[in-house]
Structures are given as structure tokens and as C-alpha cells.
Amino acid sequence: MARWLLLTALAAGAAALPGCIAYNDTCQPLVDNPNERVAFVAKGTEIWLDRPNARHANNAIGQQTADGFVWVYRDGDRPVDFAVVNGGAIRAEGLCVTRNILREGPLTNGTLHEILLFENPVIAVDLSEAQVVEMFEHSVERLFAAPAPIVSPSGQFLQVSAEVALDVDCAQPAGSRVTSLRIKGQQLQKPGRPIEQAKFRGAMSSFIVKGGDGYSMLEGTSTDPSRNPEQAKRFGGIDSNIAAEYLKQSPANQTVENGMRVDGARIRFTNCSTPTRPPN
């Protein structure tokens, strides 16, 4: 009888074994059409997605996404003057595989959504000149000055839309590193004027407009009616969806020659450490 007991116990245990260990299926695509092309990476170009290149240099994905934020508000009641994307929102890790490098050729919707993983809503608000200046000072305050190695760069670094031209000198102390800032060709002054005198409407993710990544100067603006906060209405108002739709209709989706490439003129770095090409 004891033998039968043992066999019963063992059989019950063995029956439970197959399939008893389960893990999350993180490889499931985030979108229904993961293989749809949204753009090309330009011929002869690579887009580097590792942290130093996403958080310590101009980055094509960040730039195109910020351009998409401007685009999605373009036909609305209150178009924006500029847009920013925090470098921490650009991820190389992906769901299943890490992609440090996007090589020339098609960029699919699935891959883009894995790079812009967070799916944050996009919000536009009115900012004072002082806030904009402070915001960009905060963006660059943790950049590494040459020749220091870039170690754990902060995700607070902002990629900017085409309307922004920013000069940064990493030899200067934090808080005084922005040497020039122009938005839509207009030179901003330091420390910046109050909103009654100079107002800039910017679009960004809800994460930073609510103070994430240390952007405390933006806190409260998304709930202050006087700042006209507005979440993007098209494409669910989500950053990755907006970026995908923007790219799809952009020249970057027409030919590989017109594909995405980094615009090095948007943020010009002086005395800053320069990231290198990442390993594959």
C-alpha cells in the first residue's frame, strides 16, 4: 500500500511538472502591424541607440520623434513652437533583443515601438522663456566634460525638434552650460523673461511635463489652465504612435536615400565627451 501511495504522490508531482514553470512572454509585438515599414534608415547611415548616443549626443530617432510632436499639433488650434524628447525614452534594450545599432534599410513599426517603449501621452503647454532656459540647462547639466568617459549618462538629456538650435559648453559649470538657444530662429535670453513677455509653446511627454527626470520647473504646467495644456488628440495621443505616423508620411519613408539620419546641427557640443560607436 505504501508503494501505491508513493507512486500516487510521485505521479501527481510529475503530472504537475510540465508547464508548471512559466515566464512572461515579453516578445509579443506591441502593435498589430509590427512588420509595417514606417521609414528608412538612410543609406550609408547607422543610428546608434545605446545610452551614450541617446543621452549624450544628437540622435535621429529622438529628433524625428520630436518633429512628430510638432507635426501632430500643426493643424490644431494651438500649434507648438518646439518639441523635446528625453533621451531616457529612447531604448536600445527592446522587448526581446537589444538593438544598439539601426542599420540602413527599413525601420518597422514594431521596432520603433520597442525603441519608444514607454507609450507616454504627449502634452503641449505654454512655457515662459525662463522655464525654457531652465529646462535646457537641466537637460545638459549632467553631460560629461571631455575627456571623462561617459558613465551612466542621465536620461534627462533632451533631443530637440528642428525648431531648436542649442549650443552647449560642457566646460562650464552646471546651470551655465547653455551658451546659445534659439527657437524658430528667435534667440532666447538668460535667465529668461516671464511668460507675459515671452511665451513658447512646447510639446513633450507627460513624464517630463509632470516633473520626471528632475524637470521640476515644468511641474504643474500640465494642470494649469493658464498654460493651455493640451494632450495630442490624434493617434491616441501616444508618443510612439505619433512618431510612427509622422515617419510614415515623411520623406524618410519614401526612399532609402531620403531616410532618417541624424541632424548634428540641432545641438552643438563644445568640450563635451563624445560617445563612440556602440558594440552590436
Binding site: G13, E93, F118, A146
Partner: protein, 930 residues
């Protein structure tokens, strides 16, 4: 779940048929030897029956058998205690028989012609001095009274030359016993001359009533018996002590212990188990308990996962009923050596209603040894590990003094940490490694006074001191210069008094003060944050120091009452006042600029948990709690016990507005109902089920900790003033079964559970910035089953196996990512103890952990992937039986096959190698006892 139910059903069916047709046996394994002149327990489980009574028949060589009736303890557990005068060299022979109501005797264990033998160890000359035991007259003649004539003394038995004890054979091998007599004509003659078994000469007695739970006040211990009963105990101690006392063998607790009254069966690791398991510290022992898993974090704390969930404040640790968890963060200084412990008691899930708040995922009670005498253990081994342990107790009339002391030190293992958060993405990383040095002192002292009229008074105190390094560092950087100090002092005054047949009343006042001083190194010596800025150079590294003092006062009282209709009621209340007595957070850097502050200083703008931000005391820093409980155990039938309890607590918690600013404090009520039953359809099968709900308050750390928003702190946790307390609801059912296999016994146990956590408190990184603790309002749940089997061939020959499987889920996460997999889903533990001749034992223990992976509760958790492969560790131990009556030696090897394994880190993207764990460790041990 279906498999578990089928398993349980099948087990019940098989058990039923087994019980119905199996031969009645008494499951008992006598020791090879027993000390001279000390009471001797005969204790075992009856399988089969029914019998009106059980009798153990005992004799010395050549003597007649004398009867000692076994009394029913709980369920099927019977016990008789042979008097000390019976225990004389060279030994005794015994067998057990059951007597039916018609007077028919049936042998249950051994027989008159083939009894079991127990060698009595001791000086026979001394024994002779005691043995004559001249029969005392039953009365002394007094003036005017005469004594009745005494019965003539029996003539002395026929002179049979005793064999010297050394020629006796191991009674676990009865064939060997026969061989001995076969080869020895003198012994053979003695056997031949044994009188035939007598039929029972007494009228059959009615079946003994099962012991009513706690109905009689605790008896005073006889000399030589454990002193535990005379020691004032806490409610939990009383509740759990039964298991330790009644589980002298078997990894799982006894099958039918307090069947009718116990719906919650704790796992008990007795001192004997701990020795067989080859464990040195408490957390090593917890790792072999099904449903529990133990890992280490970067800071070096041991983390106990319970049924797939893990949280330091959610496992209540006690030493002799005194809470060890720190009021500030819920961590417990419980990594104590096991050498001075009598047992470790573990309840998975909420305990009974009488246990105060904090019993959430599990309760672990450490019970120190209390037996009279002195015992010392000395160990040395790998990585300069040296430790000594001393424990003893002495009874001086009504006063009992108990003490224990541990001193342990180790340099600790060193293993390389390949990469941390300060290594550049490319290039050669700097050289660095773990550091696990530690120095520990643990001293406890208890004195009790047993008065005849006023009850028992006790005073107890304990001092704990730990100085250690951080295993890796604070968060994501190796910091070998971290110095962590933890000091704890606690004291308790207790009183208990029996109320005759009505029950007992008891009261307890307790105090504890815990002080932690943790200096963390966040970056190595000579680290410069900004290459161009010499003010950001830190010669001694970036440092942070957090000192916290926490103080608690507690007062509790309870009454245990025997009520009519077989009800046993326990009611009580407890009050506790906890407070942060000191707090400081210092750093040697300026968070906003990363420049050196010159020395450790308070960062500007940092609000301490003891402050409210307006110049007053922070409401999170003090907490008053009041708890009331009632619990009734009703035993309407012999085979049915129903327990219902309710706990009501009022806990002072801070209140805050939407922006996290403190607004005051409020008493938060919480309810903890319990309901359970235990059914014993057969004497060797018990079925249990229970439901329990418990609540836990957020810790001060979870509510109010603040740290600077600096580069080095990104990703670390901060308090959330809006945090709510969390409930856990547990439903559990299980069966236990005992089967005799000749003179061996097989114990099986299986149980299934489902638990749901409402508003579970968790740390989920959504931002990569400072992460506030959050509630998971949709809930977290876990379900699974655990099984244990233990085969005891002899007391020294044992094989055991246990397995646990669970599935934990965070319901607030999309379906594809809700599994919580940072704790192993499957655990197997197994082992055996094997006698190698008369003096040596080999213990072998295998532990298996299934693969672990990152959780996916947030995008960041999802993309910070890690896979910790399944691993197996093997422990082997060679130890002696007692030598010269006072000495044991042992050699212990842990992870003897050097399996590499690692534990998880908070930032696997920055520390991809995880926390490397120990390779092979070897220790030598000397145990002496008097």
C-alpha cells in the same frame, strides 16, 4: 490546482483503504542508548486499532516485564515516561502491545520474545547504589495507628549474568539481536528462562479521552526535563511550542498533533533537524522549508520569499516571541546561528488571531534551547569563519536561569563583480569583488520565578550586535568600504498564573531599542565625478551615512479559558508604542553639484522622516497600535475541530494631502478574521483547511524616507506619504498521512493554497528616477502547493524530500507580463542521514531552485532583462555520535560541488552579473555538552 486536488483526493482514497486493511502498528524507533538515571520517554504513533489502551512492557535483563500504560497525547500520538529508577545499566528491553476492550492483547511494536533493547549508559556502580531502591514502607507507624500488613516482596528474579553493555547490539536491527543470543549461550539461556507473556490482569478500561486543548495548567518540569514549561511564554510561543515538543523526529511535524485543535500546522525544524541539515544560520535553514526561498540582495541582507512573494516587512521574525523586525524598515536582524536554537517554527501565511500585526506572508519564531545543563559549540572554517556558542540553564529551587550567547566572525567570501554602474559601457572595467565580512554578538538571558500562589514571573533580555560590510554595495556600485552596524536590545517582563480548571491568565511588558548605523560607499576611493572639476574628487569615495534608532514599548494580556461544550477560548489585547528615537542622513557630496562637501553633512533641503517640514515632528515617526483578539476552538466531535478567531487592530498612521505634505495622523482600523477546521477521518490521516486575513501597515521607510535627488541615487526608492496598508487573504487546505512500513515510518504531507494581496505594497520602477513605493490596488495573488515526504528507518537513518510550486501574479499588469518570476517557482529539497557504523553519521542535502527571471510590471522591469539559471547546491556533513558522553565532532561542506549561482540586483542593466553567491565552504565543528 486541479492536479493538487486530484492528488489530495487520491491520497485520501488510498489512505482510507490503507487504514482500513493495514495491520495495527505502533510507530516508534527507540534510541540505541539512553542515559542512566533519567526518565525515558516511549513515544510513538498508533496506526490501526481500535484499542482500549496501549501498554509498554519493560524489563531489565532477566527480570519480569512490568507494565507502563501509554497515554494518548494528541491524535494518534501516545507517550509513556519510564521512571528514572528504571533506567539502570546494562539496559532495558521493551515492547508495546494494544489491549482491546475485551482484554485481548495485540503486539504492536516488538514482542515479548523479541523485544527492543536500549543500552543504558552510565557507571553501573553508581547505578547499583541507586538501583537497590529499597521498597519504602507505604506508611509510617504512628501513635495509635498501625500500618496494614504489606504484601510480601517478590523474590528476586533468577540470577542471570548481565552482559556488558558493549556487547549489546543495535536494537534497530532485530536480526542482529537474535544473532547475539544465538552466539552466546549465556544470553540464550536468559532468553529461554524469560517468563511467558502474561495476559492483561486488569479489567479493560474505557478508551482514554483525548487531551482537551490547554485545559490543564502547565505542569512544572521534572528535573532533567526541558524547562520550557516553566518559562513564561508569549501567545505565539505557547501556540507553537507544542509542535517543537511533539515533533522530536520527522522533518514535517507530527501527523496528528493536536488534530482537533490545530487548523494551522507550522513547519518545525527542531535542533535535531538543524543538525542533520548541515546549516549554520537561520536563513540557511529556512531555505529547505517548502514554499520558502532565500536570496541575498546587493546590500547583503537575506531576503525570504514566501510562496512567490518577497518583502522584508512582510515576514515577522521573533526570538522567543520577541519581535526582531525593525520599526523603520521592517528588516530583521535574524541571521543568527542555529547552534543555540531548540527549534525554528514557521507559519506560511497569516498566523492565528492572537499573533500581533506583522504576520503577513509568514511568521518565523526562533526558540532558544532551555534544557538544563551547559552546551558549547565551536566552529571554524572557510574565509576565516570562527564562531562560538554557549547555552545553558540552571534551576535553583523556584528560580530558573537560562542564558545563551553567540559570537561569530568571518572575513567572508570574495567573488568578482564583473561590472557595476560606474563602469563605462566599453573598455576594461575596474577590478572589484564582493565582501562579506561580519562580526556578530548575540546574548540572551532569562530568569523566571515560579511561586505557588502568585504565578510565574519572568524577566528576559537580549543584546544583538552586528558589524558587517555590504556584500556588493548600496545600490548599483560596489562599495567595499561600506560599514553597516546594527545593535538591538530588548527586554520583557512576564507573568502567568493558572486559574485552576478555568484556564490561565498572563501578561507581558516588553521593550526594545534598535539602532542602525549604515555608512555606504557609493563610489570607490579616488572617484572624480566631473573630470574637469577637481571639487568633484572624492579621495574616500562618495559616502552616505544613515543612522536610525527605533524604540518600542509593548503591553499585552491574555486569558485562556476552558468553556463548557468543549470550547477553548483565548482572549486578549495588546498595545504598542513605536517611535523613531533618532534619525540622520548625511552625505559627503552636494547633491545639486556633485561637488565634495568636505565631510559627512546633512544635504540641504532634505526632510527627515522625523520631521513634518514645518518645524514639528513628522507624524510617520510615531505609531501607536492597539489590538484585541478572540479565538475559540470548538471540538464537538472526536475527529473534528473548528477554530474561529477575530483580530481587531487600530494603528496610528500619518495622513497626507495629494502633494505628499503631512496633514496629521489617524487611527486606522483593520480586521483579521480566521476560520479553520481539522478533520481526522482515520487515526493516520488528517485533513485541514483554513481561511485567514491579515493586515500590514506601511513601514516608516515606505511612508517617509527621503533621499537627495542626485546622480548616484537615480533608481532608488523613496517613501510615499499616500501609501495605504495592505491586506492578505489566504485560503489553504491540506492533508497529512502517516504510514508504517515495518518498523520504519513514512510521513506524507501536501497542501494547496491561494492568497490574494489587496493594495499590496511594492516597489515598481516606472521612471528610473527616485521611485516611490506604491500600492497595487488591483491586487497581487499567489497560488500553488507544497508537498513533503519523510521516511524514518531509524532515528539516525532518515530520507526526506519536499517540493513546492507556486504561481505569483501582479493583477495590475497586462496579462502578458503579470507573472512574478523573481522568486523560483519550483523548489525541491531532499536529503538523507545515514549511520556509518556506530559512531559516524553522514548527512547529505540537495537544494534545487528553478530559473528566475525579471518581473515585467513596468516597461523598465521588462527591458531590464535578466535570467538567473536554475541551480542546485549540495551540502554534505560527517558528524559523530556523542563521544565520551560529552563531545561531538563534525565536518561540514556547503555547496560541495561548487555550483555557481547568483541572485538578482535592483539594476540588472548596470550590474549584469548579479550578486555572486558562495562557492564551496568547509567548516569543522566541536560540540561539548554537560
Amino acid at each position: 490546482m486541479r492536479t493538487a486536488l486530484l492528488f489530495g483526493l487520491g491520497l485520501a482514497l488510498v489512505a482510507r483503504s490503507s487504514a482500513a486493511d493495514s495491520r495495527a502498528t505502533f510507530l516508534y524507533t527507540p534510541p540505541v542508548e539512553a542515559p542512566m538515571g533519567q526518565p525515558f520517554k516511549v513515544e510513538g504513533n498508533l496506526s490501526g486499532g481500535p484499542f482500549a489502551k496501549l501498554v509498554v512492557k519493560v524489563r531489565g535483563p532477566g527480570e519480569d516485564y512490568e507494565d507502563h500504560e501509554l497515554s494518548l497525547q494528541y491524535g494518534d500520538l501516545y507517550r509513556a515516561t519510564l521512571p528514572a529508577s528504571r533506567m539502570v545499566p546494562p539496559g532495558i528491553e521493551l515492547y508495546v502491545e494494544g489491549v482491546t476492550s475485551s482484554g485481548k492483547a495485540t503486539p504492536l511494536f516488538a514482542t515479548a520474545s523479541r523485544p527492543a533493547r536500549v543500552i543504558i549508559v552510565g557507571d553501573s556502580t553508581d547505578a547499583a547504589a541507586e538501583k537497590p531502591e529499597k521498597k519504602k514502607p507505604k506508611c509510617k507507624p504512628r501513635k495509635g495507628k498501625k500500618c496494614p500488613p504489606e504484601e510480601p516482596e517478590k523474590p528476586p528474579p533468577a540470577e542471570v549474568p548481565d552482559k556488558p553493555p558493549t556487547e549489546w547490539t543495535d536494537t534497530s536491527d532485530t536480526s542482529a539481536s537474535d544473532k547475539a543470543t544465538a552466539g552466546d549461550p549465556v544470553a540464550a539461556k536468559a532468553v529461554a528462562e524469560r517468563p511467558p507473556d502474561k495476559p492483561p490482569d486488569r479489567a479493560p478500561e474505557p478508551p482514554p479521552e483525548r487531551a482537551a486543548p490547554e485545559k490543564t495548567p502547565p505542569e512544572k518540569s521534572a528535573p532533567g526535563e526541558p524547562l520550557a514549561t516553566s518559562k513564561p511564554r508569549t501567545a505565539l510561543d505557547e501556540e507553537l511550542a507544542v509542535y517543537g515538543a511533539e515533533a522530536p523526529s520527522g522533518f514535517a511535524q507530527h501527523l496528528d498533533e493536536r488534530t482537533r485543535t490545530t487548523v494551522l500546522a507550522p513547519v518545525v525544524l527542531s535542533a535535531g533537524h538543524l543538525k542533520q541539515l548541515g546549516v549554520r544560520y537561520v536563513h540557511e535553514a529556512l531555505e529547505v522549508v517548502p514554499g520558502l526561498s532565500v536570496s541575498r540582495d546587493v546590500q547583503g541582507f537575506y531576503r525570504v520569499g514566501v510562496r512567490g512573494l518577497r518583502g522584508a516587512p512582510e515576514v515577522l521574525f521573533l526570538v522567543n516571541g520577541q519581535r526582531l523586525n525593525h520599526f523603520y524598515d521592517g528588516q530583521a536582524l535574524a541571521t543568527l546561528p542555529v547552534d543555540n536554537l531548540d527549534r525554528i517554527e514557521i507559519i506560511r501565511g497569516p498566523a492565528t488571531a492572537e499573533v500581533g500585526l506583522g504576520n503577513y506572508l509568514a511568521v518565523v519564531n526562533l526558540v532558544t534551547r532551555t534544557e538544563e545543563g551547559l552546551r558549547g559549540v565551536f566552529t571554524g572554517g572557510s574565509f576565516d569563519a570562527f564562531d562560538g556558542h554557549l547555552v545553558g540553564a540552571k534551576r535553583l529551587g523556584p528560580v530558573t536561569i537560562q542564558g545563551d550567547a553567540d559570537v561569530a566572525s568571518q572575513y567572508g567570501y570574495r567573488k568578482p563583480v564583473t561590472k557595476d554602474g560606474l563602469d563605462p559601457p566599453t573598455g576594461t572595467p575596474r577590478s572589484k569583488s564582493t565582501l562579506d565580512n561580519r562580526f556578530l554578538v548575540n546574548v540572551g538571558l532569562a530568569v523566571s520565578l515560579d511561586t505557588e500562589s502568585a504565578g510565574t514571573f519572568g524577566v528576559a533580555g537580549r543584546f544583538l550586535l552586528e558589524n558587517r560590510s555590504a556584500l556588493v554595495g548600496l545600490f548599483d556600485v560596489v562599495g567595499n568600504d561600506s560599514r553597516l552596524r546594527w545593535q538591538s536590545i530588548d527586554a520583557a517582563l512576564t507573568w502567568s498564573r493558572p486559574l485552576g480548571e478555568l484556564g490561565t491568565v498572563s501578561a507581558r511588558f516588553s521593550f526594545d531599542q534598535q539602532d542602525t548605523d549604515r555608512l555606504w560607499q557609493l563610489a570607490p576611493d579616488g572617484y572624480q565625478v566631473v573630470a574637469s572639476n577637481p571639487n568633484t574628487l572624492f579621495a574616500d569615495g562618495i559616502l552616505e551615512q544613515v543612522t536610525v534608532g527605533a524604540r518600542s514599548f509593548g503591553l499585552s494580556g491574555r486569558a485562556d479559558l476552558s468553556l463548557p461544550a468543549k470550547n477553548q477560548l483565548a482572549v486578549g489585547l495588546d498595545a504598542q508604542l513605536q517611535s523613531i528615537s533618532s534619525y540622520a542622513y548625511l552625505a559627503n557630496y552636494v547633491p545639486s553639484t556633485n561637488e565634495s562637501a568636505g565631510s559627512l553633512a546633512r544635504p540641504d533641503g532634505l526632510r527627515y522622516p522625523t520631521e513634518n517640514g514645518q518645524g514639528g515632528r513628522g507624524p510617520a515617526a510615531d505609531r501607536f497600535g492597539l489590538g484585541l483578539f478572540g479565538q475559540d476552538t470548538w471540538t464537538p466531535l472526536d475527529a473534528l475541530s473548528i477554530q474561529a478567531g477575530l483580530r481587531l487592530d487600530f494603528t496610528q498612521l500619518p495622513t497626507a494631502d495629494a502633494n505628499g505634505a503631512w496633514t496629521g495622523a489617524a487611527l486606522v482600523p483593520s480586521f483579521g478574521p480566521r476560520l479553520g477546521l481539522a478533520v481526522t477521518p482515520f487515526t493516520n490521516l488528517v485533513v485541514r483547511g483554513h481561511y485567514g486575513r491579515a493586515w500590514r501597515a506601511p513601514t516608516v521607510q515606505e511612508l517617509a524616507e527621503t533621499i537627495p535627488d542626485s546622480d548616484s541615487n537615480q533608481g532608488r526608492a523613496v517613501g510615499n506619504p499616500g501609501l495605504k496598508g495592505a491586506y492578505v487573504d489566504l485560503v489553504e487546505g491540506g492533508v497529512e498521512y502517516l504510514q508504517g512500513l515495518g518498523e520504519a515510518k513514512l510521513r506524507l504531507k501536501a497542501n494547496a493554497f491561494f492568497e490574494k494581496l489587496t493594495d499590496a505594497i511594492a516597489l515598481v520602477d516606472n521612471t528610473g528616477n527616485l521611485i516611490p513605493y506604491t500600492n497595487r490596488p488591483i491586487g497581487v495573488q499567489s497560488w500553488g502547493f507544497e508537498g513533503e515526504a519523510r521516511l524514518e528507518v531509524t532515528q539516525r537513518g532518515v530520507a526526506w524530500l519536499n517540493a513546492a510550486w507556486q504561481r505569483a501574479e501582479d493583477l495590475g499588469t497586462p496579462a502578458s507580463g503579470r507573472l512574478l518570476t523573481d522568486v523560483p517557482q519550483v523548489r525541491f529539497n531532499g536529503g538523507f542521514s545515514l549511520p556509518l557504523g556506530r559512531w559516524l553519521n553522514l548527512d547529505f542535502v540537495v537544494r534545487y531552485h528553478s530559473e528566475r527571471r525579471n518581473n515585467s510590471r513596468s516597461v523598465l522591469e521588462q527591458i531590464r532583462r535578466y535570467t538567473l539559471p536554475a541551480y542546485t547546491t549540495v551540502t554534505a556533513q560527517l558528524r559523530t555520535e556523542p563521544l565520551f558522553e560529552h563531545l561531538e565532532l563534525g565536518v561540514l561542506g556547503q555547496n560541495v560541488f561548487t555550483f555557481d549561482y547568483i541572485d538578482d540586483v535592483p539594476r540588472p542593466d548596470r550590474v549584469p552579473g548579479g550578486v555572486p553567491r558562495e562557492s564551496v565552504l568547509v567548516f569543522g565543528t566541536i560540540r561539548v555538552f554537560f
